[in-house]
């Protein structure tokens, strides 16, 4: 029987994994992972923040990945950085309210297609043997999730502030690297 076919936790995957190969040689800037649905009104605010931030910071300093949802394939991206910023809309806060909190790995999600930041951090640790030293979730309160590409006024007004907060996180991170 192959050693893999046991229930004993094993060491992280070897460097021969295609998961690592696709990022081989890449530099390790900070990472901003944004998710949302641009066709469901305020749910797209994370994607709009990603677009705005992309204009403000060079790719060598901040790598941006924007998608409809967080998926297991992003584990390699997460494992390749020491600062990860997860950006998403929040249905539980007032529209436009911004919340920034640190995130830690938590491997208790049973999802197969989508993941939350703690589960993604746990997957990065399991598969790649590394998690970012600093990980934050930046959420913007959202009020409308109907069909449409328009974002509500108070949510839209929060985007510049969210960008400044991303800049603050980047600056603080740079100081730790100096």
């Amino acid at each position: 029987m192959d050693a893999n076919l046991t229930n004993t936790p094993q060491p992280p995957a070897s460097a021969a994994s295609p998961l690592h190969a696709s990022r081989a040689g890449a530099a390790s800037p900070a990472l901003l992972l944004a998710c949302g649905n641009s066709l469901r009104e305020d749910d797209g605010v994370g994607l709009q923040i990603a677009e705005a931030v992309e204009q403000l910071f060079p790719a060598s300093r901040l790598r941006i990945v924007a998608a409809q949802q967080f998926t297991p394939e992003m584990a390699a991206d997460v494992a390749a950085t020491d600062l990860a910023i997860f950006v998403d809309a929040s249905a539980g806060d007032d529209p436009g309210a911004i919340r920034v909190c640190s995130v830690a790995a938590r491997p208790d999600s049973a999802e197969t297609h989508r993941m939350d930041p703690p589960a993604l951090l746990a997957m990065a640790e399991s598969l790649c043997g590394h998690t970012p030293a600093h990980a934050f979730a930046l959420t913007v309160g959202a009020g409308q999730f109907g069909y449409g590409t328009e974002i509500g006024g108070s949510v839209r007004q929060a985007i510049p502030r969210a960008c400044r907060l991303v800049g603050n996180l980047l600056s603080a991170f740079s100081r730790t690297q100096a």
Partner: protein, 474 residues
């Protein structure tokens, strides 16, 4: 008292599903039916749209297989234009289709089914996830996540984005491949091939643990249908349709896919709006067939790439006849992934792949077009009729999961009869009934429409409809 068991929804599928098991007075399963959310409406709301919008519209049928729909739709549009697309464009579409096959098969095998294969069918439900596999079997988890990432990355490099790319268009593709991107893809192939080969090793070794499941997971004679090339080898983008019987006899060698209505009929059953396609000359249910990885490897002469051919020979050596158990869909998926990775490398090695001429242009020259390709789950057919201005008058999409519908229902009945007995509803029993559906990797998002994560409910009902017992999880 006769009762009904309902598994609702079925988990770890692409979409929502529900299984109803009818028990007799002694608790023996008498009948089984598989239900899905049954209305999409794509064919209807596409009416009146310009035909050239169809690839992008129909790609929205599914977030897993947008590429398959893009390709079948683009081919249907090529037929309306009456053009032969440039060779480089055809090969770029082939690469895209094969990358799609790899990422989809990786999702099915590793994300959805590997928990059953590695932890066992009786493992606790909250452990049967890719996240748990990443913790208990990180090497295997990394291979699975990495292979899905590989397929998606190839799609992204070719088409600009991983999901719903718009690169494939009527007449070809809208941008040639650069040497830089080609080299990036080529560099990713050796680790991908190594990961697939590692997976084949452990999967083969684990097969003996699933002898009982192999015996009853949709293990019965049916026909098999899929595309072949002009040498009778496995084909995913073009070619003719072949139909074989359960003894391996070719009963239709080179059917023209564009004439699918001549040989594919659609039966209806009273419990569902989902159709039951069958091979017309044998009627229904005698003409029930299966499509997808198992069908393709059963009916093709071989794969046509060296490593995959070796694996194919070993696979086929397990039986002198076609392999009939749907459990072997898992095995076939791995071999197809190996073939796809090898084939992408071969296609990229041809300097013609960088040709700048990648799109033929024309206006409407045919008022009808059919596009057929092999999607990960099986043969996918798009059929459009347009007016002289190119506006869609009628559309028909025949989806792989639909082809497999009859065999899937029968497989559920076979598995349930073996594992389900009266009031003793154990988690492992439920999981096995779901797992037989999972072997087909049905994309209910494609064949119908659904999204999201699904809990599971089993209901026992008396003949008068009253609830006798309910088991719920998730």
């Amino acid at each position: 008292m006769p009762r009904t068991l309902v598994i609702d929804p079925v988990t770890r599928l692409e979409g929502h599903g529900k299984i109803t098991l009818q028990l007799d007075e002694s608790g023996i399963v008498q009948d089984a039916t598989f239900h899905v959310t049954q209305l999409r409406g794509f064919e209807k709301f596409c009416e009146g749209r310009p035909f050239y919008e169809m690839p992008n519209i129909t790609a929205r049928v599914c977030g897993i297989c947008p590429v398959s729909h893009l390709i079948a739709s683009s081919k249907a549009c090529d037929a309306i234009l009456a053009v032969r697309i440039p060779p480089a464009a055809a090969n770029l579409r082939r690469i895209l289709n094969l990358a799609q096959l790899i990422q989809s098969h990786a999702l099915s095998f590793f994300y959805l089914s590997s928990p059953d294969l590695l932890l066992g069918m009786d493992a606790p439900a909250d452990e049967r996830s890719i996240l748990h596999i990443a913790h208990t079997h990180p090497s295997i988890g990394a291979d699975g996540v990495g292979l899905r990432q590989f397929g998606q990355r190839v799609i992204e490099l070719l088409a600009g984005r991983r999901i719903h790319p718009g690169w494939t268009v009527p007449g070809g593709v809208n941008e040639p491949l650069s040497a830089e991107k080609r080299d990036q893809i080529l560099a990713m192939i050796p680790p991908a091939i190594a990961a697939i080969r590692r997976t084949l090793v452990w999967f083969r070794q684990s097969l003996e643990k699933f002898t009982a499941e192999i015996e009853v997971f949709a293990n019965f004679p049916t026909l098999f249908m899929g595309l072949i090339d002009d040498r009778g080898l496995a084909e995913y983008y073009d070619g003719a349709l072949r139909v074989i019987d359960s003894e391996g006899n070719i009963i239709a060698g080179e059917l023209d896919p564009a004439r699918y209505m001549d040989f594919i009929g659609e039966a209806v059953e009273p419990f569902t709006y989902m159709k039951f396609p069958y091979y017309k000359p044998l009627g229904y249910p005698g003409g029930t067939y299966r499509v997808g990885p198992l069908a393709r490897l059963n009916l093709a002469g071989r794969c046509d790439t060296p490593l995959a051919d070796n694996e194919w020979r070993e696979f086929r050596a397990m039986s002198p006849r076609p392999l009939l158990s749907s459990f072997h869909y898992h095995y076939a998926r791995l071999i197809e992934m190996l073939h796809a990775a090898e084939k992408i490398e071969i296609l990229l090695a041809d300097l013609g792949i960088l040709d700048k001429h990648v799109r033929a242009t024309a206006s409407v020259n045919n008022l009808e077009g059919v596009g057929v390709a092999e999607a990960p789950r099986g043969t996918l057919i798009h059929h459009y009729k347009v007016d002289e201005n190119g506006l869609i008058r009628w559309a028909n999409l025949v989806i792989a999961t639909g082809h497999n519908n009859a065999a899937m229902n029968r497989g559920i009945l076979q598995t349930a009869r073996h594992y389900v007995q009266g009031d003793n509803i154990a988690e492992g029993m439920l999981n096995r009934v779901e797992a037989v559906v999972r072997t087909f990797d049905p994309c209910l998002s494609c064949s119908t429409h659904a999204m999201g994560r699904m809990p599971l409910t089993v209901e026992l009902r008396a003949p008068d409809g009253s609830l006798v017992r309910e088991v719920r999880r998730g």
